[in-house]
Symmetry: C3
Subunit: 118 residues, 3 copies
């Protein structure tokens, strides 16, 4: 039951790993606050790709995703980026709900669980 952590900060870690399963921190578009939801999703999916790459994994190994939209009216615009990003045949289980986020500048937050390789 060894635990490894990526970028363990004073408040949270970017990711934690145990038994070959990785829990990622909820990702937001820190570089694109106030941008349209599609642009925020492109940053978020790139961030998830980067974290998974550092873990030696990738988006084809996502197990679960929870998507929080500040405005559920952004559902279609969020999905446009999501659908283009995920790997057909290797999509995670998913739930999407509306929730206000830590700052009004953020339109969407995505929290995923993934499997490592090997």
């Amino acid at each position: 039951m060894e635990i490894t952590r990526l970028d363990p900060g004073p408040r949270m870690s970017e990711a934690t790993v145990c038994n070959g399963i990785a829990w990622l921190a909820g990702q937001i578009a820190e570089d694109h606050p106030n941008a349209p939801v599609g642009e925020q999703m492109r940053e978020i999916t790139a961030r998830i790709d980067a974290v998974l790459a550092r873990l030696g994994s990738d988006k084809s190994r996502l197990l679960s995703a929870t998507i929080y939209l500040a405005d559920i009216g952004d559902f279609a615009a969020m999905n446009a980026v999501w659908d283009a990003w995920v790997v057909p045949g290797h999509t995670p289980a998913r739930a999407t709900v509306e929730a206000r986020l830590a700052a009004p500048a953020y339109a969407v937050e995505v929290q995923v669980v993934a499997a490592l390789n090997g």
Copy 2:
């Protein structure tokens, strides 16, 4: 770290399995939009039963449940169906919060994690 998936669609899978743990997609009452929350919960719990059965598992092996209610005022009506459905002595950890869902027709969404058998 093999991953198996149930009904992997272009957007999400019905369930993903790794290390004997199953993550299910958030279940909504697709056949009973706009129905009272109790009726929606009956469909949702039947859907979870069906997915778990296809995985060779069942509701006595639920590990975790997150319940999203579009109106937290439906808490008691949701619980009436939940309490009758779960297996005494084998209940999951659970959290219930209010969140607007993908369409206003849906009163509740339930996201579970379960263990396989064997």
Copy 3:
């Protein structure tokens, strides 16, 4: 794939364990309804400590946390307690969103996943 449960009630268990991973029920400040969010967080973190201790684990082994704030305006006050509680270098992945909770008396709910020892 044995499952063990802590305090399995008719509606939910305090925690479930499988493969060395523990899923805890969403914790609320049952003894401090209507208290300020900081006081509620102190009760909640003490509750998590107590549950983890009963499982033979502790807060240095948290993998994931999802924090639901009834009012996202409480973000800073919640974090003040959180930051003092977590173990530097051993923080979990985390997501924080706004969501109304089961009763208006509760300002915050925290749902965690942790690894056991050994």
